[in-house]
Symmetry: C2
Subunit: 162 residues, 2 copies
């Protein structure tokens, strides 16, 4: 039986394990360095940087959805961005992922958010089809850009020299 | 002369005007419904949903950079997402946009953020080239997905019926 609840500080160990599971699935384990203490600090301190739902199946941790708020300057309203959606492989096919995805949509509407967004790997056609069947649109024209590590330090340095 | 400062509640009228300018530039004016009151509520209340830098050129509003925090579950650290970067057309070519972009990078590093991210229109090659020259990477494989309006209400309804 499925139960979805808001994660608490005590769940951080379980969540870190699942993030590790997600990193393995994406063959990106070498990039996964987050610790339980990181999640406790960033999700359950005075200024939470994320929110998390935990799914249990027969009282065992089954999956999670981790999100934070973004902002639409055109709508003048906050939105929700879903960073991670994960279900342990052995528990897939039971509708747990879908239930988590929908539950975050419910929270978005309840909180008056104008949008609900996430990203999907562009070769993951089954997921894209599934999301589109729920009314999600592909923002095909938009290309995500990222700076990190040394390149980010260098940009900061350029700003300091101005 | 360029001056960049943190926007205050009193700047919301100026910012809304510039968001309108951005919407016009993107030929999306029909989607721009945000008001000054929206920005005051969401950016300057007890839980700010965004942060904003204002650029002035010779004491006149010239541009803005609006950002919020996202989260990397792999790094276990917050990051910065730049939602809008805008400079009035008549003031372009003076390095104001670059100065705003770099200043947000400086804030990201100062606050210990692991990443700095934004999106660019995939046909905007001059901007893509410029961002890459600063060390930004194109996250080519990632496709942004969005649900809003009726589709979002419908997803929330499905969650309620579970």
């Amino acid at each position: 039986m499925l139960k979805i609840s808001t994660a608490t500080r005590e769940d951080c160990g379980t969540i870190v394990e699942m993030i590790r599971g997600l990193a393995e699935y994406e063959k990106l384990s070498h990039l996964m360095t987050a610790t339980e203490a990181d999640l406790e600090r960033d999700g359950f301190g005075p200024t939470p940087r994320f929110h998390c739902l935990l799914a249990k199946w027969d009282d065992q941790p089954a999956g999670f959805a981790l999100y934070f708020y973004n902002y639409s300057t055109f709508k003048g309203r906050a939105g929700i961005y879903l960073e991670d959606l994960f279900v342990w492989p052995r528990l897939r096919g039971k509708g747990i992922g879908k239930a988590l995805l929908l539950e975050v949509a419910r929270i978005a509407v309840e909180e008056g958010c104008g949008r609900y967004e996430w990203q999907v790997l562009d070769w993951n056609q089954p997921s894209i089809d599934f999301y589109e069947s729920l009314g999600a649109q592909r923002m095909k024209e938009w290309l995500p850009m990222r700076v990190e590590g040394e390149a980010l330090e260098k940009m900061a340095e350029m700003a300091r020299k101005k």
